[in-house]
Symmetry: C2
Subunit: 430 residues, 2 copies
Amino acid sequence: MSIIEAIDAKRDGRENSEAELRSLASGAADGSIPDYQLAAWLMAAYLNGLSPRETADLTLAMAASGERLDLTGLPKPWVDKHSTGGVGDKTTLVVLPILAACGLTMVKMSGRGLGITGGTIDKLDSVEGFRTDLSPEEMKGQAARIGLALTGQTPRLAPADKALYALRDVTGTVASVPLITASILSKKIAGGAETVVLDVKCGSGAFMRTLNEAQALAASLVSVGELAGLAVRSVVTDMDQPLGRCVGNALEVREAWETLAPGGEYGPATARFRELCLQLAGIALEAVGKGGLAEAVDALESGAAFAKATEWFVDQGADPAAILAAGWQQAPARADVKANRPGWIARVDARQIGEAAVSLGAGRRTKADEIDPRVGIECLAPVGSGVAAGQAVLRVHARDDQSAQRAALDLTRAVEVVDGEVFASPVLLA
Amino acid sequence: MSIIEAIDAKRDGRENSEAELRSLASGAADGSIPDYQLAAWLMAAYLNGLSPRETADLTLAMAASGERLDLTGLPKPWVDKHSTGGVGDKTTLVVLPILAACGLTMVKMSGRGLGITGGTIDKLDSVEGFRTDLSPEEMKGQAARIGLALTGQTPRLAPADKALYALRDVTGTVASVPLITASILSKKIAGGAETVVLDVKCGSGAFMRTLNEAQALAASLVSVGELAGLAVRSVVTDMDQPLGRCVGNALEVREAWETLAPGGEYGPATARFRELCLQLAGIALEAVGKGGLAEAVDALESGAAFAKATEWFVDQGADPAAILAAGWQQAPARADVKANRPGWIARVDARQIGEAAVSLGAGRRTKADEIDPRVGIECLAPVGSGVAAGQAVLRVHARDDQSAQRAALDLTRAVEVVDGEVFASPVLLA
């Protein structure tokens, strides 16, 4: 099997065979195919596309390019949840305990954030003692005890994806629906899941800016998943404004905790976040025949999900005293962005808020950047809120007054107030 | 200027700016742009094309990526001649002396052969003493004395082309008309020429198999040449059968010498080769306003071209005794391929004969292969010849009997004899 033939075929708009795609994935994983040939193939695949059959073959080849987490012995169903990434997206922290409380086995690997997209591992690293480096054995043991385990990504799973993703990042070949599909699904398959709920974000703070693009990716994930033997349910959800009230690592864990705690109070932004968590959980329960939205609501409102989350955090090493006292880390400096006129909030720009959060230290511009877990931004008035002139609409949490003031100044452009009443788009778009 | 932006633009079907193409060429030449990014750009350019303006900018950027031969002081016009490569193509050896005899300054860099395409430098290396490693100063000095100098390619001229060509060879991006155009013209411009006659070969033994492809390349060479300030005349010529009687290095020099010698005798295959040499020389003379076909014929028939060729060979180090006695190297073993029936020759397959010549040792499969200058194949009956059963149609020259017999056996499929009379296509196709 010659890589040149695989490149020629894809260049000329022909399909690659399963054997060609397997060689490509293993050659990417072990470095035996030079980067320049992979890059030529990636650009040809970007421009000429991959059929669902090719994408499924590539997915399975990438999943088989390294180790695979074997969940044998754990109670079924084995379920995973994934989001394409956005600003303020902490759904994993709420959806996993809900589903584990409903009897599903949730074994998940999460990533770190890069750019404006936050990462679940960074959020959990803000919790004193929480371990995000569980071994495969520890993952299985914990999932057997409490139905739930989460760890950081290991390079031993789907190494072909790691190699190809690094190349795509520097060759202009990231924005390809088949290549994104194979990248996401290969990691889910290598992680051992049989059913996955996929949240495709859409809007200014997401990779997919338009509904058409997001729907194309969501459809591809489902159809390729089916060909690859993975049950996928996908939804397209709004990422024009940040998800929920909080953006920033410790702030987001705290908001998730408030959402989990039964009988808690929360404003309209957190209500929107809570609704999405319940919808995602309901879809997962339906997918595995264990109920639906009603069961998810019950698990959350009864306190079962909160109890499961507490068990999870403690089992994974978090300091119980810190959690019980809600002793989340807090940044020393604050500054508010205020409405300059009365009216209705028409825009809370997810991208601009994400950029500001990165500047404050909540995220990374390059992989080497250090994160400050305490900093971030609270969105006090989501789209559709009525506000008075001078009312605080954003609250900056910063490491010092100077950066707080600068962020607040930058963020005046991120919020738009208009005269006429505004109704926010639903959080579930499709 | 970011290479990523240049890749993105080409990927999305937009034009690259002159500055982007200059960065790309200099980054390819000095190695500062990684191969994988060049490969991604090459594939995007292959699939989305380059406009004539982009191709001209790339050509000039590649020509400027290294040294440039400065012909200042030599009499104008400064003319070069180039062929896209074929089997039995020794036109340079005849066209250069004709044009130098007509008063043009011919300064040319030639390449070595690879695959079935022969290289002028390999042919001249078969001549005892002939130097193919002249320095730029030696080139200029010789051209000043006799109007004619030829040497091997130096990596110091157009190093961007060298780097990009090596990458194209292993990334499936060779067969792109704009990339081929820029590669050819950049070397001609760096070599100092102002007018170039380009012979685009077409047929089974050429890179371009169809007339449409060959005409597209010929048209691109002319229009891009004009934008880049180089006067280009291009023709498309037949390469379905080998050009002339001989294929193989010493054999071809000998055929060229016989063609140059006034009053010599030659068969129909060499007549076809001679006609092409005269046509190419006539086009060059017309292009620079120094006459045309009649002047070329006169230079050849009067013996002026032969005298110039003798001067050239001797000036460049060849042993005069060897040339005068026509003491060309000869292979020790021979074998003939005979017509299996009477009739007319309908096909003498250039590709199969080229492959057989490589197998005999006349060419290289990889750059490291050694060449045997003596071996090759004579085509005794070109397309359109009437032959008797048992008449020799091909003659193999080999280093031993075994390889001669094997080649003769292989070559029985390269010649087709039919009942009805056949007329060969003209050597000039367009």
